[in-house]
């Protein structure tokens, strides 16, 4: 049995793993220090995107996709002049930017894990991640470009 530590208290990862038969190589340990923050960022974007999607997307789809066609909107509610006026306001641009961009990252993260866990493709981790988040980044760029042009 290990002696109760006195001065320095807690044990380091090394000391515990000495007893462990699990193979944690030097290589993997260096990765510990670099990769965690990356996954954390992806997950944070995924979460934020999910919140935006959950709160704001249903109503927007309802208005543009259904209400317009079914005739529930007042005449000229979505007229060119009015919408252009609305969208040009800086706050509107911020709102629209967030509304379009955040769900892209939500989709990217979810799709990445679906490919690995649901479809069953276990290799190509770097490629899948790059394609997913890359698509989201491209979407972000397009959105910013369009919003600046209006």
């Amino acid at each position: 049995m290990r002696e109760r530590p006195t001065e320095t208290g807690g044990l380091s990862l090394d000391e515990v793993l000495v007893d462990s038969e699990r193979e944690i190589t030097e290589e993997k340990r260096d990765l510990y220090l670099i990769l965690p923050s990356r996954e954390l960022v992806f997950w944070a974007l995924f979460s934020a995107g999910g919140m935006v999607a959950a709160f704001l997307i249903p109503i927007n789809v309802a208005i543009l996709g259904i209400a317009l066609a079914v005739g529930w909107l007042p005449e000229d509610a979505l007229s060119f002049e009015r919408v252009l006026e609305l969208v040009r306001h800086p706050l509107a641009k911020v709102y629209l930017g967030i509304l379009v961009v955040m769900p892209l990252y939500h989709w990217a993260h979810r799709f990445r894990f679906a490919v690995h866990h649901q479809v069953g493709i276990h290799g190509w981790k770097r490629l899948v991640a790059t394609l997913c988040y890359g698509t989201a980044v491209v979407g972000t760029a397009l959105t910013v470009w369009v919003l600046l042009r209006i």
């Binding site: 208290g9 807690g10 510990y32 954390l40 997950w43 979460s47």
Partner: protein
Amino acid sequence: MAEETMTLRVARYRPEHGPDQYFDEFEVPVREDMVVLDALNHIKDDLDGSLTYRWSCRMGVCGSCGMMVNGVPRLTCSTFLREFDSEPIVVEPLENFPVIRDLVIDMSDFLEKLKEVKPWVIREKEGLVEEGEYLQTPEEVDTYKQFSMCINCMLCYSACPVYGQDPEFLGPAVIALARRYDLDSRDQGRSQRDEVLGVDWGIWDCTFVGECSVVCPKDVDPAAAIQRTKVSTTTREMLSLVWPFETRPRSTPGEAPR
């Protein structure tokens, strides 16, 4: 009076007799309130003494008797035969683990991972016995109590599809127990556990399927533990960008916590 019986279809694996898993069927007399474990004990006592399986307390607190019953990870001591409408009742070893013999699985992977997260109270400096105990209020106990109820039965590992596909994954129970200690006001070792939890095959491998919490017999809710760890890790990292100081109060032996 004709005795009622039920049929159990039990997975067998006896490496000294052959390399494959096969099934044996047993007809077991049933009493009211009989559980699957009772049936297994009857089989071993009266029908086939070679049947090998783990059990201990037979009351749902030791975590030894976890097995797949009709494809669902269950504690056999808490699974009543009257639950089942159709027969045979299929009993197999816990999924996602290597089988040693019959219904006994190799749990060393789980035990290794458990050690890695240091499931004990870590102090920067141990107090002296004369100074008294580390005190804790009932509210402080409440913060981690739920996650302390884990009996290490590993049903959650059988239920987790991510662990099934990626055996590197730390898994629900290990992460829940790590959080139990991180939340304990007497503990000062969170940063050491963060090293282990924050890797790709730690908390970030979890996709919140939630099956672990569904099968947990002690309502630990490991899924919630994992997601909350993701949130707290993320918030802490974000905050440390603007405020790089430790914020949680510490308690010292004999002193009531702030």
